[in-house]
Point group: C3
Chain length 370, copies 3
């Protein structure tokens, strides 16, 4: 293996002080930029013939996916292997959990076995945070990465979305400031989407103008209850969406963050104003289970009102690009032929970005100065 000079140079000038990556609520602009630059360095590694670096050789990464996953687990596993780390995969089906062990005890078992990092997915919000808190309490130098917790956050997905977009704007030097003033629409099931929550943090931090669009039933319930917080004149969702995020994000009051300097998302019940002159559209996955919960009349009607189609894209800027975290329900969130059109779709770039961004996150956590 060649010496990974590029990213070592990057790191020589950077100090990464975050041991756990749990939420983007308190991410600093410099942190976003470090992730983006490190991921760009790893993208270069991945273009080599031998796509591996010895950065994490001998380290053990435990993939604790309490909720089943193929795509995200494979992406993390490949990222770990390309950093020469060893991986341990926890599979819930054949686990001690069915034997009554607590989640914290499972995590502590992997800690005791020698795990240096834990990548955690769980259907309950807050589990990765709880494990990280326990690791801190125990005084061990183990990093915890949230790979999706309930309807809370999915930071690595939002960071790979960010990397994908910023790389399009400046391939060599993807950085946060590139998004300032861009209009970005997030469309779909905002109520249940951990991807949307994480993206709202990163995109608002960048200074982009974020527009959220979706059916009233799939807008966070709290919004209805706290509707009075909505500024009728500007249609500015700040107070309510902030409140919503607040309930999930205990760290947002970090003093290092300047909430006020950020733009705040706008809400729309119809898709058209969100798409109008947009630079990027992010569609969210629609869980088919929502239908049985009577939150949606039908997939067909959803597509008619909120699906991304070639016609609707005419509302956007001419070089509009579409993102989707996958897996896609073809013909629901997005028309099938549009999804496959490389002129518009960034979906496969997102997956490719995922490996580089996850390599960056594991690498940064592994070398954290804290």
């Amino acid at each position: 293996m060649r010496s990974p000079t590029t990213f070592d140079n990057v790191m020589a000038t950077t100090t990464w002080t975050r041991r756990h990556i749990l939420s983007l609520a308190d991410f600093l602009p410099t942190e976003y930029d470090t992730v983006l630059q490190t991921a760009a360095s790893f993208r270069e590694v991945l273009s080599r013939r031998t796509k591996k670096v010895p950065a994490l050789q001998g380290q053990v990464i435990a993939n604790l996916f309490f909720e089943p996953s193929t795509r995200t687990r494979s992406s993390f596993e490949l990222a770990a292997k390309r950093l020469s780390a060893d991986t341990l995969n926890f599979t819930p089906g054949s686990s001690s959990l069915s034997k009554g062990e607590t989640i914290l005890d499972t995590a502590k078992t992997y800690l005791a076995m020698g795990a240096d990092m834990m990548v955690i997915r769980h259907r309950e919000a807050g589990v990765p945070q709880a494990i990280a808190t326990e690791m801190n309490r125990l005084g061990v130098r183990v990093g915890v990465l949230n790979a999706g917790d309930g309807q809370h956050e999915h930071p690595s997905q939002a960071l790979l979305d960010l990397f994908t977009i910023c790389s399009l704007l400046d391939f060599e030097r993807p950085r946060l400031e590139l998004l300032a003033g861009k209009k970005i629409a997030i469309v779909g099931d905002l109520l249940h989407s951990r991807v949307a929550r994480s993206n709202i943090w990163s995109l608002t931090a960048s200074g982009a103008e974020v527009h959220l669009a979706g059916p009233p039933t799939l807008v966070p319930q709290l919004f209805a209850e706290y509707g009075s917080g909505r500024d009728e004149e500007t249609n500015n969702l700040f107070h309510t969406s902030s409140f919503l995020l607040h309930t999930f994000s205990p760290t947002q009051d970090s003093p290092t963050r300047t909430q006020d300097s950020k733009k705040t998302p706008f809400l729309h019940w119809e898709i058209e104003p969100a798409l109008q002159d947009a630079d990027f559209v992010m569609t969210l996955r629609l869980q088919k289970e929502r239908m049985s919960a009577h939150l949606l009349p039908s997939l067909r009607e959803y597509h008619q009102r909120y699906g991304i189609t070639r016609d609707r894209l005419k509302l956007c800027k001419p070089d509009i690009k579409v993102l989707h975290p996958g897996p896609v329900n073809r013909g629901v969130e997005i028309s099938s032929e549009l999804m496959d059109d490389p002129q518009f779709s960034l979906i496969s770039q997102q997956v490719t970005s995922g490996v580089a961004v996850r390599m960056a996150l594991l690498y940064l956590m592994g070398g954290s100065k804290i």
Copy 2:
């Protein structure tokens, strides 16, 4: 690791131009021989103390087993590891498929992650072909290997069977021509067997005399419908079985193939004429589900009429050898004590051959000049 000189020498004189391995229908004699020789070189590697070569270091092989498998998946996984490749395992139980993603989208996700090759098993015929077609359409250099698709083909199994037999005839230089004039019986559930379909292609290509025997209900349905195609005088199945294979093998009309030069299989409703003076017997796995479909009266009766027993082997040549793709139903396809008799059974050699042959296939695909 030692430099893999042996197989490098082999490859220096060979040009492999097939990116995907989907079917043996249009395999050329030179291709069979290249696989056999390359596998022999890897068998030598596997006899060393350190059984690894760096041939595919840094490459990623995605094992997409949509249909559960232990034996074939493990064999491919070990082959990949011994070539120093990294593997990603797709497990259908915890997959995005249950979330409504299409198979092509799953494959494209692994492509976007950086997979260099995909090993695919699916219970529907044609899925590996469809994925390969999509990869070609996208213009990417990703090899697709069919690890068993429905009742269509299982090329790597037939190639390891071929390697096992040819190695017995000439250990150092296994090659196709060794089988010319040998009589080989394939016994059992021909209707449902992808193993049989692939073996018929390779064995007829070798010039062996192939005899098929099984109960009328387990002979391809098309045979009954197209019974008039059967040449009553010679009991020659060529037209009908060719028709059958035709329906599954869109590539068989390749101009590079000289169908007419091949011997064609004979069909028997009874096992005895198939075994008479045979050099090799291949028994096929009997799926117990066939009983509930009323295709078979009972396992006992099946064994009585078509089971391989010590008595029945007296019909064959004295040095008769028995093959079975596994897993075996002891006492059904073959008597239990015969299965364990190394004088007759090649079953464990088949499994051993499997690793060397699959190393050869992955290696050849990885270095394809196309």
Copy 3:
């Protein structure tokens, strides 16, 4: 990787002649000491920055966990990776077993693929022994390790318990003789515990005074039937427990073993006499299924009578330590806060010891002179 000098030195002076590790019934004191010293060497390896040695490079270890397991399987997998071996994982859910293959045939398939060692867990007692016997019959140099078979034995768990205790008494030179005269209580479901069975062998071999305590219903049934064998004056269980172990341990009559020189376990229906002045307490996992089998009135009552609590520990020596094989039912076998108290609990040390001890076992088997 650095040359593994420490354990090579250890091994230079040791001859390990046991190919399979199936039971501790006939383990010799020198074998216990070799395992303990080798594990101590590997613990040193695990404290390095790069926690790997090339000891088993190119070797293949098949993890055949017919019974689901997370903790033990992960521990063995990590041990194998840190010895640079390749691993193959058999997963029962997607296996050939559901296709009717016998367990021996599954093992022989992995043998034929090239497995050098097999780590086997099965819910039936005797399966690893049966596979080892078959491997011997075939004349192959493949080691079989019992990773838990039914209610019979779990040798690697008992060895890691032994290593944990002995390391506490002498970190640099853990050895069997350190336990001579120590009082060790084993508390809980003795009837169903393979962990207890293996521990009884190792602890009695060490010369420790072993006390067993549990509810009458969870004491081996044979005891009730053979109650007359109990020596009423000494409450000495030797004859009956020996009989019990006898029924599971065909190898115990090995001439190399001097049964009489060992202390024999004592039985108690109440926990207090077992804890009185104890040096170590091992609690056993309580399977909740026992309740539905009417062997236990309730978890609460079990905890009241046999749970390890801070109060009960006052009966023991002041430096009492508590072990549990995991996973723990908090508040049942042991009070939740005690489990987390590093002054008393050795539970996380046990998990850490597990990796070093399993590295030692695989390493010794891999270099067996037989």
